[in-house]
Symmetry: C2
Amino acid sequence: MPDNLNTRLCDAVDAAFDAQVEFLLDLTAHPSTRGNERSAQDFMAQELTSRGFELDRWQIDVSEIRHLPGFSPVMAPYEDAVNVVGAHRSETKTGKSLILNGHIDVVPPGPLDMWEYPPFEPRVDDGWLYGRGGGDMKAGLASNLFALDALAACDLAPAADVFFQSVVEEECTGNGALACLARGYTADAALIPEPFSENLVTAQLGVIWFQVHLKGRPTHVAYAGSGSNAIEAAVPLIQALHEMEHRWNDEGRRPPDYAQMEHALNLNVGKIQGGDWTSSVPAWCVFDVRMGLFPGQSLKAAKIEIEQVILDAARENEFLQNSLPEIVYHGFEAEGYALSQDSSKKAALAIDTLDQAHRTATGEELARQAITATTDARFFGLYADTPALVYGPRAEAIHGFNERVELESMRRITKATALFIADWCGVEPRNGATERVAASS
Amino acid sequence: MPDNLNTRLCDAVDAAFDAQVEFLLDLTAHPSTRGNERSAQDFMAQELTSRGFELDRWQIDVSEIRHLPGFSPVMAPYEDAVNVVGAHRSETKTGKSLILNGHIDVVPPGPLDMWEYPPFEPRVDDGWLYGRGGGDMKAGLASNLFALDALAACDLAPAADVFFQSVVEEECTGNGALACLARGYTADAALIPEPFSENLVTAQLGVIWFQVHLKGRPTHVAYAGSGSNAIEAAVPLIQALHEMEHRWNDEGRRPPDYAQMEHALNLNVGKIQGGDWTSSVPAWCVFDVRMGLFPGQSLKAAKIEIEQVILDAARENEFLQNSLPEIVYHGFEAEGYALSQDSSKKAALAIDTLDQAHRTATGEELARQAITATTDARFFGLYADTPALVYGPRAEAIHGFNERVELESMRRITKATALFIADWCGVEPRNGATERVAASS
């Protein structure tokens, strides 16, 4: 790729950067928590349509993905689970095709009084954009889109098909990305700008979600001895799960990407609800757990062990032994994925191409990172033979209060992405550009 | 009181007993949980009006009771906090006046799937009436009302003022009974048919409610180590509160009525809520606690000790020490009350009168019981110099699933109540009865 083009693409990103920040402010203002993604997806669809992409917008049909590997159980209604894909169809198809993926869903903001500013009234301060989802991962959607804009600004288009995906459900199941696969969107590589500080993610964990439902006989608290407290009965179960967590992190069990991490697998009790009256001994309690898994660790075996741990602990509890807990899988059943283990030429080439784009855009080496979370990358890597490059801007407090993303980092990622697209896909004249050039000459 | 009248009153209760059960079925069908008492109070008002009682129906005005002893903090809106009183004004006023008190509010039913039949579709089976609130304490409201009906059926009325009270807020603050006092309803004795198995309650505990609010920094679970889990931070605090509970139950601290009870004071974690996303480290958690107090135990000292215990435990916790818990008093600040300690002649006479009524109605001695709960009796006994007799039918699973009340027990209580009224208040011809007798002779 001529240096001249690199420079033109980076200049184009700079020229549009104010507009990109405006776009990110607009997008982050849509409170696209689970079940509320529609307005954000409408916004994305409008942006894609106005740029001339071929638009595909559909509600996920669970019956079409239920049987596929990587499917996670669905607990919530899917009326609002709408994916948006904008397709660029190359006229020459001389290069390698690409999926630019990002998720539109954001996690709940938590108590609003713990935010310095309202989570869905994003603002820029001292080089950072604040707001729920600004980092995770609307800045990534912005960098994907404005990287394509940079090519267009140079009157170029990718010389291969490119599918811009704005998916739902990344934060709880991954079924949005899975539905894109099921709909036939495949390519030679995928790029997912999740906010991991401009590092290339070489491995990600699997994640499993489960709920533990405890039930028992309630009673007036005057007779507390004859009832059993379902809230307090949760404590020994959580303790037993933490002991399992420590076993799973044993040095001997760690795969190469995580060999140096003392505690990559985190067990999180993320939510609890129990009882409904202060003076009634609570008869039920539900707590929600997230547990990490190493790449290569069997989901099925993990579930068996989790169930065993919970039931064993319950059997030692006087109350629970007569009313064993129910375990409900209510989200992620996600395997781990390691790009580092993909020995294909395609993967090597994709990484090399990104390496070079990053170096050109930033002047620095592309650092590698094994992350302790999951991303939608697993669908491309594990189930579609597509190397998935997770590479996005620097953000802080994702899933926390005052989440923020560094704007200069988003600029660098946008430039690197534009260079990557131009190199991986090649370029052709933008549709209509040749004619315009001909007409003006 | 002539035996003849006793027999006639008991016969009148029997004659109306099917109607009384129908009444209880109707009343129990009103789901009068906190904030939803209106339809049940409308029903009570209608029943009182149709019987010719002078009706008083008013919404509690917090500003009128806030300054009074026995007031408990109000957390919920009071739009639906409506008391109903039906007054009988005696023409002769030759006897002792009486308050017949009962509460209309019921505690939440909990998960419906744990009920054999829906909690607000009451039914009779094998001598028991099932339904939320049937025992606690709509059967008591029924026995109060149908005891008065028995007098009327004998063309008699109490020869003293009688105030039939259907109050709200018994299950969380007692502010309903307090509002009746503030409105000027006083009498020489009060009878409250709470469901304690036909025993006379000689002492009741104090109760304090508090919420513990925990807050912290949330984060993506991938970085669980750098955030702090507010749900799990609750565990050592609950542990410390249980240690306090054990100290408070020490033998040396027990007053006479509770000397033989190993564990009269129960600490109950009745409700918990924390977090909102399985894969976010929860940044907040709130748990609700009910703790018992002995009669004579200072509420103020109890609060100081509770706060000390929580804060001391929090200071030992790495996360909480930087974000100390907030303690909110959200309901009961109720002192204990012991009728057994009321040495007045009035109290002795009221107990004797009930003793005799119970013996006549049931053929058995009136048993005594110190209970491990609170009732509205404290307002009459502690703040209005009025002996309060808590004496009601046998019920099971109050605050539990499949709550039920024994109908024959309600019948006995109704008879004993009718005899008690006739003896305590004396009788006079029913308003209009003399004229009717004159007209027909």
